[in-house]
């Protein structure tokens, strides 16, 4: 994935990111990219890593079959303040976790759309994935809601 792909600048309040234009997103702030036919690479969006804060450790927990289903927990990720479940966004078979994360878990935050991907799975991605433009709408609504709950518009 050396070629430069189109990115869309996004900024709202104090959050800014450059969203790859050609990949899919989920409402739970994962991105999904088809790396070869039916093989999907999954990662956190920049917004997700911002919300999670610093990450220190993670583990994939799968049974021997490596079968995975959308919405099922496939492991956990540990931040400074809490442990969060990792929910799968692909129906099919778990292929592998990102080996680079074992060395350096901070890649998740420093290069979320590139070297900091989470895992790859074969099969079908969740049906409710959206394109970058719809995801931008989701980000707007999410950030506005957060600002509102903080009592500042």
């Amino acid at each position: 994935m050396a070629e430069r792909e189109e990115r869309i600048r996004y900024k709202r309040s104090r959050f800014a990111t450059r969203l790859p234009a050609s990949i899919f997103y989920t409402r739970a702030h994962f991105w999904i990219r088809e790396v070869s036919p039916n093989l999907w690479r999954v990662g956190f969006t920049k917004f997700a890593t911002r919300m999670l804060g610093e990450l220190v450790e993670f583990e994939f927990k799968l049974d021997d079959s490596k079968a995975v289903r959308v919405g099922h927990s496939i492991g956990w990720i540990e931040g400074f303040k809490a442990v969060t479940d990792l929910f799968c966004v692909v129906d099919g078979l778990f292929e592998r976790g990102n080996p680079a994360l074992t060395e350096d878990v901070t890649l998740l935050g420093s290069d979320p759309y590139g070297a900091g991907w989470l895992y790859e799975a074969r099969g079908k991605p969740e049906p409710n994935t959206v394109d970058v433009h719809t995801y931008i709408g989701i980000l707007d609504a999410t950030i506005d809601k957060m600002l509102e709950s903080q009592g500042k518009s």
């Binding site: 309040s13 104090r14 804060g53 610093e54 220190v56 450790e57 540990e78 400074f80 303040k81 442990v83 878990v105 600002l147 903080q150 009592g151 500042k152």
Partner: protein
């Protein structure tokens, strides 16, 4: 949900706000680690507007407070500050507090989560004594400037000679022209100050201090860094190391318990604990691997199925770059006992270590001239 007077400023600085003890507080502005390192290497600025601040006045204020805390109040000079526990009749901890002695008044600083409880406790135990209790939490701002550069940042802004305000001392003066109680106290294990002043000036003070210290590396810090800093420094947090089922001797806070002063609330029980030995004791551990031990995780002796203790606080230490925790261990165990942390079905080896995990390097005191 309450807000401190600095709420809008925190939001505009991009803070992640979380509920804490009934307040919306900044947990971090950016990265907790960066904020943590700023305090260890330069300086950090904290809004502590949630902490309870109580004024005690009246002619009997000193014997009144002396009766209710484990440390001495009688005989302290003006400007003295002390850390103490406020025990119940059982000798267990209602709160841990800091008090400052000023002419005509005592300033008592309590935990946000315990402010109402302590106000009621003070009223209940006042009896006929001439003591007036006033909650000034909302009227006074409290911010902390912590770190090795705190003195360099504050000195040009104050009329006080800060070299004379030594550790655990406080003085009245002005900072940025604002009348202020300046205390050399904190909760980070670093040198630094806590400022008490008119809440209406809080935003001006906070932004001006940030600006004044910017070139020296000062940054705004949230409760996330405050927690990792205090934990490295081995300082207890109410609700974690301290609660109403724990006495100060179990928590290893002997330094703040003066059993030889006049009898105080719970002192008989504490004398008995001292005689018999505590039922549990607070211990420090490093943890192998990157997993973070959390409050409530159980601790086992290797090869045993029944837990012998429980984690009270844990974190990944940004300074030491490893996971560590404080934990209560029941009973006594010989040196060399192999302790393990239970993480679900897994057991992770623990390495016993002394509390505090981190101690700042202090400048060596100048040697006294050799007598001839």
């Amino acid at each position: 949900m309450k807000q401190t007077t600095l709420h809008n400023l925190h939001v505009s600085l991009g803070a992640t706000m979380v509920p804490f003890a009934g307040y919306q507080m900044p947990v971090r502005y950016g990265s907790i680690k960066d904020e943590h390192h700023a305090v260890r290497t330069s300086a950090g600025l904290f809004d502590l507007g949630h902490m309870g601040r109580i004024l005690i006045t009246g002619n009997d204020r000193v014997p009144f407070l002396d009766k209710l805390v484990t440390n001495k109040v009688e005989g302290l000079e003006t400007g003295a500050a002390r850390y103490a526990l406020m025990p119940n009749q059982e000798g267990n901890v209602l709160d841990d507090v800091i008090y400052y002695v000023f002419p005509e008044l005592l300033l008592l600083v309590v935990n946000a989560s315990n402010t109402d409880k302590i106000l009621q406790w003070l009223q209940k135990n006042k009896g006929d004594l001439d003591a007036k209790i006033e909650d000034v939490t909302a009227d006074w701002a409290m911010i902390a400037l912590q770190g090795p550069n705190a003195i360099k940042i504050t000195s040009p802004l104050t009329d006080l000679d800060l070299k004379t305000v030594k550790g655990y001392k406080a003085a009245g003066g002005t900072v940025l022209g604002i009348p202020c109680l300046v205390a050399r106290t904190g909760y980070t294990g670093e040198d630094g100050f806590e400022f008490y002043f008119d809440a209406n000036r809080a935003e001006f003070m906070f932004t001006s201090l940030l600006k004044a210290g910017k070139d020296l590396g000062l940054r705004a810090c949230g409760l996330g860094a405050r927690d990792t800093l205090r934990l490295e420094a081995g300082m207890p947090l109410y609700g974690h190391e301290l609660d109403e089922n724990t006495n100060p001797l179990e928590a290893g806070l002997q330094f703040a318990v003066q059993l030889d002063k006049n009898p105080f609330m719970g002192s008989e029980k504490l004398l008995k604990v001292q005689e018999d030995g505590p039922a549990k004791s607070l211990k420090g551990f490093f943890v192998e691997g990157r997993r973070i031990p959390r409050q409530g995780h159980e601790i086992f002796i290797a090869g045993q199925d029944t837990p012998c203790g429980v984690v009270s606080s844990g974190t990944h230490s940004p300074t030491l770059e490893r996971a560590l925790c404080m934990a209560y261990i029941n009973g006594q165990h010989p040196e060399g006992t192999n302790f393990e942390l239970g993480l679900g079905k897994k057991r992770v080896p623990l390495i016993p270590t002394k509390i505090p995990f981190y101690k700042r390097k202090r400048k060596k005191k100048k040697k006294k001239a050799v007598e001839t």
